[in-house]
C-alpha cells in the first residue's frame, strides 16, 4: 500500500494507485454480486450484507494504511477484507461453509478475519468491533509501535453504547484510531434522519473531543485524502479522528429486505453517483485507455469465478472436531 509518487491523478494519488483502486472496487462489487446470486439461488444459507455501492469507502480508507496497520470490520465486511488484499478464494469458501474458508466454515459471511493482513475481524454485533479497535490501538501504543487502527462502522452503530465507550477511551488516551462511519443513510431500515437528532453524524464526535470530517464516500479520492490525513494524525500521536463517509447501499440490508423504508427514486439517484463509474470516468479523463480498464474488468470477473469454483470444489469441514475447537492450547499472540 505504499504510495508511488509520480503521475499524480488527484492531489497526491498516483495513477498507478488509482488503477489499483479501480481493480479493488471492481473485485468487491463482483464478489458481492456473486454472493447476491448465490443467495438468490439458495446456494448459500444464512444471511449476508452486501457492500455494493459503498466500495469507495473501504478502498479509499485502506489505501491510506501502511502494512502492519489493522482494521476492525462489520457485518457488511466483505469490502474491507478485499480492500486489504484478502484472499477472495478463502472468502468465497467461507461463505460456502467450506474447510478452506477463512474460518474453516465456522464463521460465514459475518465473521471473516485475516489477522495476517491486519483484519481483526468482521462482527455480527453492531458496534461490537469498536471497543476492540480501541484495544488494538492501545496495544500498539503500549508496544511503542507506530501502527494505526481503522474502526469501520455503520451509521446505526453510532447509537450503540459500545461506540460511546470506545470513542471516549480513544479520545482520553489519544489512541491511534480512525473511526470510519459508513453513513449509508439507514441502519436496517431506521433512517439517520429519525435515529439521530443531529444534522451530521460527524457532530457526535465533538462530544468526545474527537475531530471529525465528512466526505463523499462515493469518491475514492476524497475518502483516501481524508483517510490519509486522519491516519497521519493518528500515527504521529495526534489521537483519533472520525470520518463520516456518505454513501449508499444499492441492495437490501440483508438477504430478506422488501425495501419498504426507502423510495425507488432515492435508490435510482444514488445509483447515478456510482463510485466505480465515477472512478472510471476520472481515469478515462486522465488518459487511461478503456481497453486496459476492460481488461481489468475481465480479469476480476475471472478471479471471482475462479474463487467460486475453488470454493465449490472445496471439502466440507469435519463436525467431529467441533468440540475440540473451542479452546486453544497455543499462545498465538507471538511471545
Amino acid at each position: 500500500m505504499n504510495r508511488a509518487t509520480e503521475q499524480a491523478i488527484s492531489k497526491d494519488a498516483t495513477l498507478e494507485e488509482a488503477i489499483r483502486w479501480f481493480r479493488t472496487m471492481l473485485t468487491i462489487r463482483r464478489f458481492d454480486e456473486t454472493i447476491d446470486e448465490l443467495f438468490a439461488s439458495g446456494k448459500v444459507h444464512g444471511t449476508t450484507h452486501l457492500y455494493i455501492g459503498e466500495e469507495a469507502v473501504a478502498t479509499g480508507i485502506i489505501g491510506a494504511l501502511d502494512s502492519g496497520d489493522v482494521i476492525t470490520s462489520t457485518h457488511r465486511g466483505h469490502g474491507h477484507n478485499i480492500a486489504l488484499g484478502g484472499d477472495v478464494r478463502a472468502m468465497m469458501a467461507e461463505l460456502l461453509g467450506r474447510e478452506t474458508g477463512y474460518c474453516r466454515g465456522y464463521g460465514g459471511s459475518m465473521h471473516i478475519a485475516d489477522q495476517s493482513l491486519g483484519n481483526l475481524g468482521a462482527n455480527g454485533i453492531v458496534g461490537g468491533g469498536l471497543p476492540i479497535a480501541v484495544g488494538a490501538a492501545l496495544g500498539f501504543v503500549m508496544q511503542k509501535q507506530p501502527k494505526v487502527v481503522v474502526a469501520f462502522s455503520g451509521d446505526g452503530a453510532l447509537n450503540e453504547g459500545a461506540f460511546h465507550e470506545a470513542a471516549n477511551l480513544a479520545a482520553i488516551w489519544r489512541l491511534p484510531v480512525v473511526f470510519v462511519v459508513e453513513n449509508n443513510l439507514y441502519g436496517m431500515s431506521g433512517s439517520v434522519k429519525e435515529m439521530f437528532a443531529i444534522g451530521h453524524l460527524a457532530e457526535r464526535a465533538s462530544g468526545y473531543g474527537i475531530p471529525a470530517t465528512m466526505v463523499d464516500g462515493n469518491d475514492v479520492f476524497s475518502v483516501w485524502e481524508a483517510g490519509s490525513q486522519a491516519v497521519q494524525v493518528a500515527r504521529s500521536g495526534g489521537g483519533p479522528t472520525l470520518i463520516e463517509a456518505m454513501t449508499y447501499r444499492y441492495k437490501g440490508h440483508s438477504k430478506s429486505d422488501a425495501n419498504r423504508y426507502r423510495s425507488r427514486e432515492e435508490i435510482r439517484d444514488w445509483r447515478k453517483r456510482d463510485p466505480i463509474t465515477h472512478l472510471e470516468q476520472h481515469l478515462s479523463s486522465h488518459g487511461v485507455d478503456h481497453t486496459m480498464l476492460n481488461e481489468i474488468r475481465d480479469e476480476v470477473v475471472q478471479v471471482i469465478a475462479d474463487a467460486l469454483k475453488y470454493a465449490e470444489e472445496s471439502p466440507w469441514p469435519n463436525p467431529e472436531i467441533l468440540e475440540d475447537s473451542v479452546y486453544t492450547r497455543e499462545d498465538k499472540t507471538g511471545a
Binding site: 444464512g46 466454515g105 460465514g108 453504547g161 436496517m188 435515529m195 463436525p319
Partner: protein, 331 residues
C-alpha cells in the same frame, strides 16, 4: 379452529392486547414498516401508528431500559430483540434493573415488561445470531421465562406474558415461525407455568421445550416403531416450571431424559435433572440421566457443522435408542 403460523399467532397476541389495553405498546429495531427481521410485526404500524409501534435506534440497553421506565409509570411495553442474542447488550437493564426492581425496592414497584425475540440456530446465522440463552435468565430471580413450541401456545402464553405484572422473557424459535397449527379463537391466555404431556409413554420421560419438542416427538415416533414407548413433556415455560408434572412422569417411567438445543454445559437440563434428583422421583430412577443438547461450542456457520451442533431428529433418536437398549434391557 383456525390454523395459523406460530409467527401469526405471536402477532395476533400483540395485536389483541394492543387493541384491548391502551397501555400496551411495542418497540424495537425495524419493527415498523420493515415489519421486523422476521416479519412478526408486519402490518402493526399501519394499524396502530408509529407511536405504539415504535422503531428504535440500534441501542438494546437503551430500549429495554426505556421499556422499564415506561412500565414504572403505567405502560405495558413489549420490547423486541431483533435476535435474542442482542439481549446480551441489554443485560444490565434486564438483570440488574427489571428483574430486581420489585424485590429490591421492597415490593412497591412492578415492571410489567415483555422482552421477546427469536432464539436458536438452524438458519446459518452463526455464533452471534443463533444462541439459546434461556439458562441465564432462568437463573435470575425476578424474571419469568417462556419458550413456546406451537402456535396456540405462542399466542396463549404471550397473552399471559403481556398481562403478567412481572418481567417476562419470551423466546421464540426462528425455525418455528412458519410452523402451522390450530389456534383456538379464545384470547384467554394460557397460564405461565403449566407443562403439557405431548406424548404418553412408559419407558422414559423426555423433558423438552421450544423447537426440540418437535424433534423429540418425531424421534419418539421413530422409536415407537421399534417398540419403545416414550413420554414427552413440553415445559412451555421454564420459570415458573411445572416440576410436579415432571416428577410425576419420572415416577411412572423411571427414566429421565432432557433435550434442549442450548449448549449442554450449564443448560437448563442440569436444573431439571437436579430437581428430579432431589425429589421423591429419585427413588424411582432406574437409569442414569440422559441429556441430548447443543454441543459445548459456539454455534458454527457451515451447514454440516450447524447440523452437528443442534440435536437433530437423527441424533435424538439414535442417542435415545442406544441409551434405552443399554438401560432398559440390562437392568
Amino acid at each position: 379452529m383456525p390454523e395459523m403460523t406460530y409467527a401469526a399467532a405471536i402477532r395476533s397476541a400483540i395485536e389483541w392486547e394492543m387493541e384491548h389495553d391502551p397501555r400496551v405498546f411495542i418497540m424495537g429495531e425495524d419493527i415498523g414498516v420493515y415489519g421486523g427481521a422476521f416479519g412478526i410485526t408486519l402490518g402493526l404500524v399501519e394499524k396502530f401508528g408509529k407511536d405504539r409501534v415504535r422503531d428504535t435506534p440500534i441501542a438494546e440497553e437503551g430500549i429495554v431500559g426505556a421499556g422499564i421506565g415506561s412500565a414504572l409509570v403505567g405502560m405495558k411495553p413489549i420490547v423486541e430483540m431483533q435476535f435474542s442474542d442482542f439481549i446480551v447488550n441489554a443485560m444490565d437493564q434486564v438483570v440488574n434493573q427489571a428483574a430486581k426492581i420489585h424485590f429490591m425496592f421492597g415490593g412497591r414497584m412492578t415492571v410489567p415488561l415483555v422482552i421477546r425475540g427469536p432464539a436458536g440456530a438452524g438458519t446459518g446465522a452463526a455464533a452471534q445470531h443463533s444462541q439459546s440463552l434461556e439458562a441465564w435468565f432462568h437463573h435470575i430471580p425476578g424474571l419469568k421465562v417462556v419458550m413456546p413450541a406451537f402456535p396456540d401456545d405462542a399466542r396463549g402464553l404471550l397473552l399471559s406474558a403481556i398481562r403478567d405484572p412481572n418481567p417476562v422473557i419470551f423466546f421464540e424459535h426462528k425455525l418455528l415461525y412458519k410452523t402451522v397449527g390450530e389456534v383456538p379463537d379464545s384470547y384467554e391466555g394460557i397460564p405461565l407455568g403449566s407443562g403439557v404431556i405431548r406424548r404418553h409413554g412408559s419407558h422414559a420421560t423426555i423433558i423438552t421445550y421450544s423447537l426440540m419438542v418437535h424433534r423429540t416427538l418425531e424421534a419418539a415416533e421413530r422409536l415407537a416403531a421399534k417398540g419403545w414407548d416414550l413420554e414427552v413433556i413440553d415445559l412451555r415455560s421454564l420459570v415458573p416450571m411445572d416440576i410436579d408434572l415432571v416428577v410425576e412422569s419420572v415416577k411412572r417411567t423411571g427414566r429421565l431424559v432432557v433435550c434442549h438445543e442450548a449448549v449442554g454445559r450449564g443448560g437448563v437440563g442440569g436444573e431439571i435433572a437436579a430437581r428430579v434428583m432431589e425429589s421423591e422421583a429419585f427413588d424411582y430412577l432406574d437409569a442414569p440421566l440422559l441429556r441430548i443438547t447443543g454441543l459445548n461450542t459456539p454455534v458454527p456457520y457451515s451447514p454440516p457443522l450447524e447440523e452437528a451442533f443442534m440435536p437433530s431428529v437423527d441424533r435424538i433418536a439414535q442417542t435415545l435408542e442406544t441409551w434405552l437398549e443399554c438401560e432398559v434391557v440390562t437392568q
